[in-house]
Amino acid sequence: MACELDSLEDERPAIRGGSSPLDRRSFMKCALGSGAALGLTGFARSAAGTPSLSGDQKQDDTRFIVEAKFYQKQQNQKIKCKLCPRECMVGDKERGYCGVRENRGGTYYSLVHSRVCAAHVDPVEKKPLFHYLPGTIAFSVATAGCNVNCKFCQNWDISQSRPEQIQADYAPPQRIAALAKQYGCPTIAYTYSEPVVFSEFLMDTADAGHEAGISSIVVSNGYMQEEALKTAYGKMDAVKIDLKAFSDSYYRNVVTGQLKPVLDSLVTLKKMGKWTEIVYLVVPGLNDGDAEFHGLASWIKTNLGADVPLHFTQFHPEYLLKNLPITPVPTLERAKAIADAEGLHYVYIGNVPGHPAQNTYCPKCRRMLVERVGFTASKILIRKDSCPFCQHPIPGVWHT
């Protein structure tokens, strides 16, 4: 299949978003629009989840296959995956839970290196990262696959599919770095599906990006073993972790994972000195209790500090949770009030356009420092990493 990445136009793509909540429909609309602007029509189709329709379009799989990192060989040609806490024991000819790593004769392979099924230019605020180069854009890429199965997933058509079921293009690391530069993106973002499962590609692309002066950020569930986290996310310049709840039962029943490894990852990232922000998707009736909000905020303050940004975002019915309503804004405001009262300095409300809690305020003098309209940072007043009014330091990565 011809790589449509070879025929990019010089035109800088229009930046979309900001006027509507990031539900799946608007995400896809945005994705399709961005893709069209980029000339990445193949990617745009894949982002919409349209699998290949005939054998004639069958991809040459071999160029996407590299030996996986983070696994141990076992008897009888089995392997034990050491990438995520699931530790899949995978027999010959079988794949791990993620669906993108396969045992072939006792050697474990990633099937998604350079197998990009979605590529778009997004505002960094869309990730969301609010304390990382506000107002800039990120060249955002994804492959198929995920190591959990959230019942609310907005991108399930790529995250819950096997790579051969999703149309993708061959986009090796150097090509991604070159494209990011070409489109004026100071950052490459690994996002949309679950970057944990394409760690090998992520690491190689981060290296290629850094060689070209491009940073890397990752949007991840943090469900990862410590060694893999240190190795892969050690190459990141900033990290956004989706902390999906503060109860293990929710992780078991709704996410198909565990809470503790994610908390451990957050602590590890803190020790590594990685700029990290946390998103908590508030799902009505499932993770929206006062006690849970209190526990969450208290844990963050104790273990990560008061300066870690926490985003409470609005849920929209998707995938296997279509029976639930959109999160009421007062619920998000209640969550923020609890986290504020707990002493966290930067608590945001997300997916609610125009809400004042999308802005950044100085925790000391309470003046507004960054004004956001949708996904766009319309005013950035921070100077020398500090509040220009009271000189209180504002944590984050504000300059390249």
């Binding site: 054998g55 040609q77 010959d92 079988e94 839970y97 819950q160 198909t256």
Partner: protein, 336 residues
């Protein structure tokens, strides 16, 4: 639930009711679904058809002997004097029949080509048009690697993988995992004949009839935790599968007692048998016992001792699923 009464009309079928009772003492009792005990006294018939000379003097299965073996199995299952009568009880002209084969194991251990040809011949004898029969699995490449010729010529038996046809857009679910179903199942068939193989499985313990349905969905990787339990049972509960499923013909010409699901010649044996039943749970239970018997013969631990007993079989028989029976007292094993 498809169950067969044990009222065999033919003297020459050796009925091994004691076989299951003896085998279950090897550890099966703990897996009985409580809900099945004390239920109605109907029995599920599982026919084990054997032919030690199936391969003659060579390694390849003899087509004529395979046809004859299939005939015996079908006659025994349906208590009919002629095979065509058995097939006519199974299918009606005008129906669209899918044969879900298993080709993961390549040439070493995939659904036997001669068996599939014999089934197709009998279906046509029973009035099914060739073009209304589709032999399928998840991937065309795996089908070809196993020896099948991928073909979509009109008026001939179709042979194709889901990779050429795609999965439905809509999600279906029984239990906690949602999946997209192969369009071959949903759009090209209204009758399903399951043609799995008999294998050890590193996760589920065994892979026989019910697990072969993993090839029907787009995300089988999401169904592997916890020894595939309850996922195998949940998947077989989907109406699109359950309402189509008429028969399982398990190819045990070559079987594996260890090291599955990938083919390991050192752990396979020429079993030269077919297992046939309309109760997939009873068939899986019976196949499991055959594998345990072989493991014992080879000096290996039981699957339970290896902490990979196939608990999914009991789940499939429980009150929630009722896909069949795993109670050896309610399974009529007929050897022919």
């Amino acid at each position: 639930m498809n169950t067969m009464r044990l009222d065999s009309r033919r003297d020459f079928f050796k009925q091994c009711l004691t076989c299951a009772a003896v085998l279950h003492t090897q550890g099966g009792m703990s897996l009985f679904a409580a809900g099945q005990q004390g239920a109605a006294p109907s029995k599920s018939k599982v026919v084990i058809a054997r032919d030690p000379l199936l391969r003659g003097q060579g390694a390849t299965v003899d087509s004529r002997r395979m046809g004859s073996l299939l005939d015996r199995a079908m006659q025994a299952l349906f208590d009919r004097d002629r095979p065509i009568e058995a097939w006519k009880r199974l299918v009606q002209p005008g129906e669209k029949v899918g044969l879900k084969v298993n080709t993961l194991g390549g040439r070493g251990i995939s659904s036997n080509l001669q068996l599939v040809e014999a089934i197709c011949e009998q279906l046509q004898e029973a009035g099914i048009k060739a073009g209304d029969i589709v032999v399928w699995d998840r991937d065309s490449g795996e089908l070809e690697h196993a020896g099948f010729h991928v073909s979509t010529e009109r008026d001939r038996v179709q042979c194709i993988g889901t990779d050429r046809v795609d999965y439905e857009e809509a999600l279906v679910a029984h239990g906690s995992v949602g999946s997209r179903l192969s369009k071959i199942l949903t759009q090209r068939t209204n009758v399903l004949i399951n043609v799995p193989v008999l294998k050890d499985h590193d996760g589920a313990g065994v892979t026989i009839a019910m697990k072969n349905m993993y090839g029907v969905i787009h995300n089988p990787n999401k169904y592997h935790p916890n020894g595939c339990n309850p996922y195998i049972a949940d998947l077989n509960m989907l109406p699109e599968i359950r309402t189509r499923m008429r028969l399982t013909i398990c190819d045990a010409t070559t079987a594996m007692y260890e090291g599955g699901p990938g083919f390991k010649p050192e752990h396979s044996w020429k079993c030269n048998a077919l297992l046939v039943s309309q109760d997939p749970v009873a068939l899986d239970y019976t196949g499991w016992q055959i594998i345990e018997h072989k493991r014992a013969e080879m000096g290996l631990k039981t699957l339970e001792a290896e902490d990979r007993s196939p608990h999914y079989i009991a789940t499939a028989a429980d009150q929630e699923h009722r896909l069949g029976t795993n109670d050896p007292k309610r399974i009529a094993t007929v050897e022919v």
